[in-house]
């Protein structure tokens, strides 16, 4: 397979091949984590085995928020420096964050179905996570429709900053809103306050670590992909320029 100079240039700009190890590590940890979730952790007293979805729900939600924190940091970086690398980091983290947040909401909803018989309860944490999901989706919309060139990047960055700072306020307002309708005391959504069995805690932590590693791996891959696409676009532009196809002469007569 002949590697052209163009391909080499693109690869050079994209960076070394570290993500592969991370992906294997992440997947490996997840396998271990899920085994622990299913076999090692004891059965929960009230909900039974259905509670085990908790070991997917909590880590996903954690990564969803972590990814948004990365979006926040990268957005600030971009607004200050206008460096493309910050923009790509924010974009990659947004895409991956929305995936994990979707997983968190679905798993949370399924859990609710088994705990309380409905597919959706307005549990404060789940509601806030849903709002996060909405902000993610809107952020992707801004990227898609935000206009040409650096404009979409700029707008998405502003939204990244505003959205992240807004999340605590959203949570506070939802908590206040729900204070009229307390959830059944018997089963708490995450069980942290009510004393978690040590084996459960271990299983949970392993899964949290696993999901986090997977996030980092996916983030690296996606970011590299975007940087490569960028490099390719730059090269194409240079090509067009040299071929003289990019610009046109002005409409005024040149005598």
């Amino acid at each position: 397979m002949a590697v052209t100079t163009q391909e080499r240039a693109v690869a050079a700009k994209a960076g070394p091949d570290r993500p592969a190890t991370l992906i294997w590590l992440g997947l490996g940890l997840i396998v271990i984590g899920q085994f622990m979730a299913v076999l090692y952790a004891p059965e929960e007293v009230t909900m039974g085995n259905a509670q085990r979805i908790f070991y997917v729900h909590v880590p996903s939600a954690w990564v969803g928020y972590l990814a948004f924190a990365v979006v926040f940091g990268a957005s600030i970086g971009y607004l200050f420096t206008r460096r493309r690398s910050f923009d790509l980091a924010a974009y990659a983290s947004t895409e991956i964050g929305v995936v994990f947040t979707t997983l968190a909401i679905i798993s949370g909803s399924v859990w609710g179905r088994y705990a309380w018989g409905t597919w959706w309860t307005w549990d404060p944490r789940l509601t806030t996570t849903f709002m996060l999901w909405l902000i993610y989706v809107v952020s992707l919309m801004v990227r898609a429709y935000g206009g040409v060139g650096s404009q979409a990047a700029r707008f998405a960055a502003v939204l990244g900053v505003i959205g992240f700072l807004d999340i605590p306020l959203i949570h506070l307002s939802v908590v206040w809103w729900r204070s009229l309708h307390p959830l059944p005391v018997v089963v708490r959504p995450e069980g942290f306050g009510s004393g978690l069995h040590p084996a459960m805690l271990q299983a949970l932590l392993v899964n949290v670590a696993a999901f986090t590693v997977l996030y980092v791996a996916l983030f690296s891959v996606r970011r590299r992909q975007m940087a490569a696409a960028d490099a390719l676009a730059e090269l194409k532009n240079e090509d067009h320029r040299r071929a003289g196809t990019q610009w046109t002469v002005g409409t005024q007569e040149v005598s």
């Binding site: 650096s150 002005g250 040149v254 005598s255």
Partner: protein
């Protein structure tokens, strides 16, 4: 005193490089005309000089001051764009009054009226800008750009959409009101540009392809030069 000093100006929009290491020196009082085909980076250059954009590389100083650290520097700059910067729903007087006040001029109302008269629109002073023709808009745009008497005037393709006659009128007005201001004007109209120019620069693909030194070649020669650069694609990196 140099009105404008620019060194190695670069501007990238994502993967597109709009300006490549542009270096310019414009002494006070000089009139520099920048020619270039579409996409050459003329508007980008003007926007950076007008402090509307930060360059991705290089630096620029206006009257020795750094536009990024000096909000007040904008007092010294007037801009004429191919957009009019005028509110259609306000009268000519109101438009200029607003500008004059925003520049903090002490006798804003009188100054506004003075300039409207200077560009020959005195009779239409209290008419909504919505009712103005293109030529009248151009005149009012110049008036607005000069309301705070800036020593530097930047014009970005002001001849866009003007026929030969209107363009000539515009050039006349500009010459009249010019005073000893420094002018930088971008255009792809060789004819009008050469009338105003003390010096010319040809921008191709974001880089300075040609810069006239002492004196000015005649229109024919510059026209030939320009065509040659555009057709052969010879440019400087």
């Amino acid at each position: 005193m140099q009105a404008i000093e620019a060194r190695g100006l670069e501007k990238a929009f994502g993967p597109v490089q709009a300006l490549r290491r542009v270096t310019l020196d414009v002494p006070a009082g000089e009139s520099l005309v920048v020619f270039g085909p579409n996409g050459a980076g003329k508007t980008t250059l003007i926007k950076i000089l007008a402090t509307l954009m930060r360059p991705s590389g290089g630096w620029v100083r206006l009257f020795g001051r750094d536009p990024q650290r000096d909000d007040d520097l904008r007092r010294l700059i007037g801009v004429v764009s191919h957009h009019s910067y005028l509110y259609a729903g306000l009268t000519a007087q109101e438009n200029l009054l607003f500008a004059a006040r925003m520049y903090g001029l002490p006798d804003a109302g009188a100054r506004a009226a003075e300039l409207i008269h200077a560009v020959g629109l005195g009779l239409r002073r209290h008419d909504l800008v919505r009712t103005f023709s293109r030529g009248m808009l151009q005149r009012l745009t110049i008036a607005r750009a000069l309301v705070h008497n800036p020593p530097l005037l930047l014009l970005d393709e002001p001849y866009t959409g003007l026929d030969r006659h209107a363009a000539a009128l515009f050039t006349d007005l500009l010459e009249q009101l010019r005073g000893d201001r420094t002018i930088v004007l971008t255009t792809h109209s060789i004819e009008q540009g050469l009338v105003l120019a003390d010096r010319i620069v040809i921008l191709v693909d974001g880089a300075v392809a040609y810069e006239s030194r002492d004196g000015l070649e005649d229109q024919h020669a510059v026209g030939q030069l320009y065509t040659e650069f555009v057709r052969t694609g010879a440019w400087v990196h």
